[in-house]
Symmetry: C2
Subunit: 181 residues, 2 copies
DNA sequence: CCTACCGATCGGTAGG
DNA sequence: CCTACCGATCGGTAGG
């Protein structure tokens, strides 16, 4: 699982062969099939597991009692922490889920959609209460998701900023904007 | 080129076969090699062409005489228009360039880096002049790029908003923030 | 542009 | 977990 996560995230699902995975584990390709059913089932397991922290964040956005701006800031920061926890796992869940087929594909699409909707609902609430500026909720949702989904492409635990600095910095930039207040 | 752009953007470079491309063009796979040297040379040509509008935007950010907040807003809006002009071309340049090898890979990495640096330099200038709030330039740069690089994943010309509405909406959200001013 | 094909490599399996 | 292998498919080529 770890070897596959690393390779799928780094090279992509289609560019990773079972022989690549086996070589990283230290066995031959055929031996892997004593533990898994197929290459696709391996991808499914990784994507499903990797989605877990984000599903819990959607729950939080939908059910927590804090005001919308607090829930939004918390979710943004927690999302960053989840990415930092495993960059490669997040890269797989972001880009490789397309290679799932049939019902598994449909299920992941629904999970992604639900995550988006949790942000939209929170924004909607904050616009209604007047804490968020007049804004197009659809566009604002994709603004937030764009920022969050780009994090695994550039964040490194060896980078100049700590996870918390990045989490706060991104939340601040999104909530306050680039122009001076 | 068009068929390959569509397929590379949609399914990914590694999941697209020369037979897929040939079938969309209406010939057999072998016939393509009268026009191209290799699958990778096809990817290189698409990625290089697709980078062109963004290289011109980097030039603009670096050399235009307008104040930084105007250059930033213009670049954001023009970037959105370039994406809208061809979603699939942008998807290829965003995700498939990794499958280039050797000097071609290195060249694309440099072009991406230069685009990032143009935004960073503009932000730096605006922070120095006081028009942008106190912010971490590195984090703010990735905030902007994250928003822009997510656009091809969700924008559709058949969506509820026009290109201009999206371009203005994203620029507003980034510059002014989500919280009411 | 097609016919006919190539060597390599793929995901996966049978049997031990 | 390895040996030994499979059918399918890949990018690409020679010759017409």
């Amino acid at each position: 699982m770890d070897a596959a996560t690393h390779l799928f995230g780094d090279k992509g699902y289609r560019a990773t062969t079972m022989r690549d995975i086996a070589s990283e584990v230290g066995v031959l390709a055929g031996s892997l099939y004593a533990h898994i059913d197929s290459k696709e089932s391996l991808l499914l397991e990784i994507v499903t597991d990797a989605f877990d922290p984000f599903t819990r964040l959607a729950d939080y956005l939908e059910h927590a009692s804090e005001p919308p701006e607090v829930r939004l800031r918390t979710a943004i920061e927690e999302h960053v922490r989840a990415v930092a926890d495993s960059r490669e796992r997040t890269l797989v869940v972001l880009h490789q889920w397309r290679y799932l087929t049939g019902a598994q594909y449909t299920r992941i699409v629904a999970m992604r959609r639900r995550y988006e909707d949790a942000f939209s609902a929170t924004l909607e609430e904050g616009v209604a209460s007047g804490i968020f500026g007049p804004l197009d909720v659809r566009i604002a949702t994709f603004t937030i998701l764009g920022v969050l989904n780009w994090v695994p492409e550039w964040f490194s635990s060896k980078g100049p900023q700590t996870v918390d600095e990045v989490a706060h910095g991104l939340a601040d930039t999104l909530l306050l904007g680039l122009l001076r207040r």
